[in-house]
Symmetry: C2
Amino acid sequence: MVAPVPGLSINLATVRQQWNMREAAEACVRHGIHAISPWRDQVAAIGLDEAVRVVRDLNLQVTGLCRGGMFPAATAELRQAAIDENRRAIDEAAALKADCLVLVVGGLPGGTRDIEAARSMVRDGISTVLPHARAQGVKLAIEPLHPMYAADRSCVNTLAQALDMAGEIAPDVGVAIDTYHVWWEPNLAASIARAGRDGRIFAHHICDWLVPTKDLLLDRGMMGDGVIDLSGFRAMIEAAGYFGSHEVEIFSAQDWWTRDGDEVLRVCVERYQSLCAARV
Amino acid sequence: MVAPVPGLSINLATVRQQWNMREAAEACVRHGIHAISPWRDQVAAIGLDEAVRVVRDLNLQVTGLCRGGMFPAATAELRQAAIDENRRAIDEAAALKADCLVLVVGGLPGGTRDIEAARSMVRDGISTVLPHARAQGVKLAIEPLHPMYAADRSCVNTLAQALDMAGEIAPDVGVAIDTYHVWWEPNLAASIARAGRDGRIFAHHICDWLVPTKDLLLDRGMMGDGVIDLSGFRAMIEAAGYFGSHEVEIFSAQDWWTRDGDEVLRVCVERYQSLCAARV
């Protein structure tokens, strides 16, 4: 039996091309990884009941369910459909006992250009589903996404902005802090400290920014292969009082998604442990 | 003779594949455009003296020279070389009577990961060349670049951050506000208002954000083809007291750079005039 790797979680998007959710979860355990974060399509592919069995049978921590959100839409009907979809996502997160539901909040509704209107729709959407999340015991984590996704994925693009929005909604709405999305952010240390002080850090994702980045969506790097100061980031987030999981989330169509899944997990563990060692 | 198009400037990167600086400038005049902004390599290709003659002969406004900056470097020698290069850029801007020298400030020095250190090098670099710029009568405009360029082109990534930095350096350091780079920015209206109040808006660049964006650098859109609320942007910048030029700057390897240059300028004029009309 391989030694457990405390603090490491694998977002299953990282191995989505290699395995289904059960296969990926079993592979994680083989590598000493006892925390995962699945995507809803991965849950759906094996069925929610089977996904719950996987988590229970393998005694896994679920550090998040990806994803809710996508609130902005051009019509009231479509916005209501998004609300309904988020309620289903909350139910799934509850069934999986996920630490949080990660919210990728959505960008501009098709054909529109008013990003402040989109941001209002996000605020309204989260506020609307929050009572259901509370009733189900599910925490909602706004994930600020890199500004290059502002149009089509998320109109919340900095940690400071996500914290402002969470503050406007409720004390129990938090954030998911992903190194890839916010590493460049001005006043990052102050915003991370604020997130910790306010008890809003519900998840922490790690990967690296490659130079050059060849694709806006699917060219994220393995920790250590890019330019993000991941040790410094870890120091900031621990200084903010966060000692939860470090969840590796890598979209990489041309590289990591093409490799053997066991190799991917082996490298995730190595790089994560290097980061831990660098910290001491 | 075509009617002049007041307020429109063409950044000559927009037609860099079609023409040299003289050809591009003459084409602009053919289309009623009497303001340009050349890049230093375009000036160098015909020689500074000839570039000055082009501007004088055609009676052109030069809304900016692109670009100074690129201050961060791994060694003191390389940082000094960047300072020297910026002094030459200032001299060229003075010779061309450019409204400002646009600063693309630079990203992480190769092999480094400390973005705050890079930002300090930028502050130091601008402070160091500022006396020379003043002596030459050249205004320095920090251009915040989209965060997707934080690693390799600019560690100044929001207008708010650029204004903070300008404020730390001197009252006569300004900003170049490009719709492409800052359209997504939280609290954008407030930052633009602040820039105007502080007298720091030295240049304004326009183009559009395409969905999808296929390349991080060379897939910018013609005004109207993307998702930026350019009318709203214009309203914000005019509310801030800016009534200077609107400089079209489009890097577009697969589209506009492959078209006939006269077609590009014709469409620039059309779209710019549509924006002006929409404003009334």
